[in-house]
């Protein structure tokens, strides 16, 4: 909570910059329109104009805020398809889309984390895997996922898998890598002396794993989970772009397609907020676990 003051200050500064930038970026269009209408714009008119365009280059903060409010609370409480009137979340509300994205993210995150941990264990315990898999894991992350996402979806589609799972798989593809890297580092973090100690006890590989490597890897595990959960979210969003079946990704793109700048920004903020919440949850779990393990100081 001691961060509150500084954060608010920074946010305030950003808002100011944002407003100034909005005026600057949107001025050209406002002047254009005035010229077409054959009028001259005074400064205050110009400012007023730039902060209230319907498809601005940069929507003003209050426009984004209004859009967020509109597409969450107002839509659900008053909209024809909203929660109050229809009994289910509205397709027009960010809550609904955030939920869609979140569910794909969670499934993908679970798959990615599981796969990442298994791969890491394999790399640490199997020399052949260590030598051959890691360079390819790095290479796999240099592939532009957005490029192959549609192909993954088409291929999965052709074997009858659609809906949540393709998104989740793309999401898993992005999140497994940080987990592998972190866990490999973590499982290897015990120093020579800690390992030697177990050797003097003649402990087996399984005991070494459960009593030393795994607990020692926990800080690395959580650090990579934080990166991984954010990557999962990006993956889910990327997976939503080609199949316009809802979700924040679909929302982003639809906004872009119809030039609804405020809608893009609202979806962007929803996505970032979702990421912040997810990372926050992982952080809370991390704190609890590490405290219970006596590793948080």
């Amino acid at each position: 909570m001691r961060n509150l003051g500084p954060v608010l200050t920074v946010v305030a500064v950003i808002l100011v910059i944002w407003y100034v930038a909005a005026v600057g970026l949107n001025a050209a269009w406002a002047r254009d329109q005035a010229a077409r209408a054959g009028t001259e714009l005074g400064f205050s008119e110009l400012v007023g104009q730039t902060l209230s365009q319907s498809r601005p280059k940069l929507p003003a903060p209050h426009q984004v805020a209004a859009e967020i409010w509109q597409s969450t609370w107002v839509e659900e409480t008053q909209g024809r398809r909203g929660l109050i009137k229809s009994g289910s979340l509205s397709q027009r509300s960010l809550v609904y889309h955030a939920w869609l994205t979140l569910s794909a993210t969670m499934v993908g995150f679970a798959i990615g984390t599981g796969a990442g941990v298994l791969l890491a264990v394999g790399i640490v315990y199997n020399r052949a895997m260590d030598k051959s898999v890691m360079p390819w894991a790095i290479a796999s992350q240099t592939i532009p996922i957005l490029a192959i996402a549609p192909m993954i979806i088409v291929v999965l589609n052709s074997i009858g898998i659609s809906g949540l799972l393709p998104k989740a798989i793309i999401s898993a593809y992005l999140s497994f890598f940080p987990v592998v890297v972190g866990m490999v580092k973590g499982l290897r973090s015990p120093d020579a002396m800690q390992l030697d100690l177990l050797r003097t006890y003649s402990a087996g590989p399984a005991q070494a794993f459960w009593k030393l490597r795994l607990p020692a890897s926990m800080p690395y595990f959580f650090a990579s989970l934080k990166v991984g959960v954010a990557a999962s979210l990006v993956g889910a969003i990327v997976g939503e772009l080609p199949v316009q079946q809802g979700g924040l990704g679909a929302r982003l793109l639809a906004g872009s397609y119809y030039g609804q700048t405020a809608q893009i920004w609202a979806a962007l903020f929803a996505a970032a907020a979702l990421a912040a919440v997810l990372v926050g949850i992982v952080g809370a779990v991390q704190k609890r676990t590490l405290t219970r393990m006596g590793m948080a100081r």
Binding site: D196, L197, T200, Y201, P215, G294
Partner: protein, 262 residues
């Protein structure tokens, strides 16, 4: 001092060369040593002379590149698998995610002692090193000296015949050190363990040991082996006796010689 009944550890012409990027390092050269059952052997010598390395060879943490080394008539590695060793490392090396109690319990869990026995032993060794009451604390909540004592307790908790200790009392002040020296002697007398002990302190080596091994550096080799004439019963003020001072003098001379030709 009666001649040891049987040899527990016997090293014959042990050699060890580390291969490093900068070229080989000859850490041990032609080490010959026999340690009998129930002996207390101290290793002393300048920094880098191979004390730690030799202890690690005994515990099968390092493999000699030449010569033969047997423990209980087996290879060190077989002895290790038979859980013959308790080892105290030069640094405490406690697992930070386990409490002091949990750290001491670790070898007991691995060796499959039952719960009640575990609790019992933990309490006993904590008492021994004056850490009763700290069982639930985490390592970082203790001072360096206390951590070192916890790691000693950890090595004493299970019944290893051979106890290898690498500068266990390095981080402690003189008073605490004296106290632990007494405790260690008492434990040794009671359990008849065979103890290998590395130290930089001449009085400590002389006070504790039945046999003092003086080493000299690069390549590490044994320059003197001194059988202590002191009785098994050793009050602290034995350190002022002429026998004690004579032994200490001989150790110091051996050390000095090692320094000269280094």
């Amino acid at each position: 001092m009666a001649a040891p009944v049987q040899n527990i550890i016997s090293a014959r012409n042990v050699d060890l060369t580390f291969q490093t990027a900068d070229g080989p390092i000859h850490a041990l050269k032609g080490v010959d040593l026999a340690i009998g059952k129930g002996e207390f052997v101290s290793f002393i010598g300048p920094s880098g002379c191979g004390k730690t390395t030799f202890l690690r060879c005994i515990a099968a943490l390092e493999t000699p590149t030449g010569g033969t080394l047997t423990v209980n008539g087996m290879s060190p590695d077989e002895a290790r698998r038979a859980r013959a060793y308790g080892y105290v490392f030069q640094a405490a090396g406690l697992y930070p995610w386990r409490t002091i109690g949990g750290n001491i319990r670790l070898p007991l869990e691995i060796m499959g002692y039952d719960k009640a026995e575990q609790a019992d032993r933990v309490a006993r060794v904590l008492e021994l090193v004056d850490l009763a009451g700290f069982e639930k604390k985490y390592p970082w909540q203790l001072s360096g000296g206390m951590q070192q004592r916890a790691s000693i307790a950890r090595a004493l908790a299970f019944d290893a015949d051979i106890l290898l200790m690498d500068e266990p009392f390095g981080a402690l002040d003189e008073i605490v050190r004296d106290h632990l020296n007494e405790q260690l002697l008492a434990l040794w007398a009671r359990t008849e363990k065979t103890i290998g002990f590395v130290t930089h302190s001449i009085p400590e080596a002389v006070y504790l040991s039945t046999k003092i091994v003086v080493m000299s550096p690069r390549p590490g080799r044994i320059t003197d082996i001194i059988e202590s004439p002191l009785p098994k019963e050793r009050p602290l003020d034995i350190r002022d006796t002429p026998e004690f001072i004579a032994v200490a003098h001989r150790v110091r001379e051996g050390l000095r010689a090692g320094h000269q030709d280094a």
